[in-house]
């Protein structure tokens, strides 16, 4: 297998792009990434998209997106793995380049949520769960996360400590050009916001947005940013089937595989992007990734440990909460952001001296997880 490098990235601001169709949004990120890589000579395209079949009635999105960038003939495919679509699309593209099937692959995540009403967006999120006995109850993804949130609070933390995950993400997003909500939010504002699904407040949830992010992958040479590992793992879909609901088994397994492949330990990770679609999921992810001991992540975040100069710099551009969470695009945003950090090109968001970074993207309530570890090559 060949080593693979990230040659270019493209990031569209997460927003409500009323004037753009989904393929236009995709093309903006894709063209940016190819320009950044200095090559348009891609032979494969992997599109991460979760809900285009519900929100745009669009299937066969691989062909449509190859069409959008005027490259008929490309190997092109849409990868769907719920909210982990972007991370899993990246994983598939890495395998294509590593195996020699592809010499230059474009991975782009795209999602356009503003085309539908809020209740349709809520339905799309619960479509990640098993339908006949989980979604059937009328539960939402926020509701499933809320059940974990309540268990966690009973054992380990105060509501405001879990809520600080959102406050920290907003703090990190200030000044970020591609973030949907690049402003500060106080813990009081989060805790005083209405309940979304008790005990989760509305301001502890990622919002609804449109976005597209892209990266170009090539065989690695001496310099740049290397893909040290990418791994995917799953867990039982229903919370009712998990022995310890507060352990995200898919996150744990994907992380263990990735650490092994990259030959690093959790302590070697200089910065991390975690899947904080709800505050509790960011907290549990830090623990299941092995970066923080079980039960201690909320307190660590509340004490500033997730800040860019903290013990484990987390979501340096705002994470899902403040950069935004355009579902199938999110995993590609994460990887692109980690690549910018390792290049030293993160501007005001730079984590100083970062050499190894990790991105964790989750589908369903932890039923699919993609973990990517990137490493800076050369001096």
């Amino acid at each position: 297998m060949r080593k693979v490098a990230v040659a270019g990235v493209g990031l569209v601001k997460v927003s409500e792009h009323w004037e753009k169709a989904i393929w236009g949004l995709f093309a903006e990120a894709a063209l940016q990434a190819m320009k950044d890589a200095g090559t348009g000579d891609v032979d494969s395209l992997y599109v991460g998209n979760m809900s285009g079949s519900l929100m745009q009635d669009q299937l066969n999105m691989g062909a449509l997106m190859a069409d959008a960038v005027a490259r008929p003939g490309l190997h092109a495919v849409r990868v769907e793995a719920g909210s982990a679509s972007g991370g899993v699309a990246f994983h598939e593209a890495v395998k294509a380049v590593a195996s020699g099937y592809s010499d230059c692959a474009l991975v782009a995540g795209v999602e356009k949520m503003s085309d539908v009403l809020p209740e349709v967006a809520a339905k799309s999120l619960v479509m990640e769960e098993e339908q006949e006995y989980s979604a059937y109850t009328g539960v939402t993804k926020a509701g499933l996360s809320a059940m974990l949130h309540r268990l966690y609070m009973e054992l380990y933390a105060e509501p405001s400590e879990v809520g600080m995950m959102a406050v920290q993400s907003h703090e990190n997003a200030v000044g970020c050009r591609h973030a949907q909500y690049p402003f500060r939010m106080s813990i009081e504002r989060a805790m005083d916001s209405p309940m979304e699904a008790d005990p989760i407040h509305m301001m502890e949830c990622a919002g609804v947005g449109d976005g597209a992010a892209a990266v170009v992958l090539v065989p690695a040479d001496a310099g740049g940013v290397e893909v040290a590992a990418t791994a995917v793992a799953t867990d039982y879909c229903s919370l009712a089937m998990r022995d310890d609901p507060l352990t995200l088994g898919a996150v744990q397994k994907a992380a263990e595989k990735a650490y092994r492949m990259a030959e690093v330990k959790p302590g070697d990770i200089d910065l991390v992007e975690v899947h904080d679609d709800y505050t509790i999921n960011g907290v549990l992810s830090l623990e299941s990734l092995g970066l923080v001991e079980a039960g201690k992540a909320a307190k660590l975040v509340a004490e500033g440990g997730a800040a860019r100069d903290g013990m484990i710099p987390t979501n340096a551009f705002g994470g899902l909460k403040a950069r935004g969470n355009p579902l199938g695009a999110t995993g590609v945003y994460q990887v692109a952001e980690v690549a910018l950090q390792l290049r030293g090109a993160a501007g005001d968001h730079q984590v100083e001296g970062a050499e190894v970074g990790l991105a964790q993207n989750m589908g369903g309530l932890g039923s699919t997880c993609a973990v990517t570890i990137l490493r800076r090559l050369g001096p």
Partner: protein
């Protein structure tokens, strides 16, 4: 136009509903004939011993709340029930499942609260679709 679309998208197909009628109406799961582990819903392969042989198993109709939430912003099709409680329950036979908990003030739900199964309307698929029924749970009156 928009309303027509959402009714259509929220509707359940007749075969999908018919297939789950018995498990949902009777709380019928399965017991692995290899190792005795009980499952709800029934599943193709036993998660403990890998067996694919099962016999019908009727769940306990009482149990308790493990953890719960109150849904304030429901998905399409459940809007008229808001707010409603959804809980992870552990039944008296050890089987866990997700269910709505009804006939209770959301503020009064607690971990360990005793609940019993009831047969209820779950949702309507628009004005012309299936009216879905199934199990929910309510507090036991001691």
């Amino acid at each position: 136009m928009c309303c027509d679309h959402s009714e259509e998208a929220g509707a359940m197909s007749v075969p999908r509903y018919w297939r789950e009628e018995v498990p949902r109406y009777r709380l019928l799961g399965e017991e692995c004939t290899g190792c005795g582990t009980r499952f709800f819903p029934a599943r193709p392969v036993c998660t403990v011993c890998g067996s694919t042989e099962f016999k019908d198993y009727k769940l306990a109709e009482t149990g308790e709340v493990v953890t719960w939430t109150v849904i304030r912003n429901p998905p399409m099709g459940f809007e008229k029930y808001r707010p409603y409680v959804v809980a992870l329950l552990e039944l008296d036979d050890g089987v866990r499942l997700l269910s709505q908990v009804v006939d209770v003030d959301p503020e009064e739900v607690q971990a360990g609260m005793r609940v019993e199964a009831v047969f209820r309307r779950v949702k309507e698929d628009g004005s012309a679709g299936i009216i879905q029924y199934g199990y929910k749970f309510r507090p036991v009156v001691e």
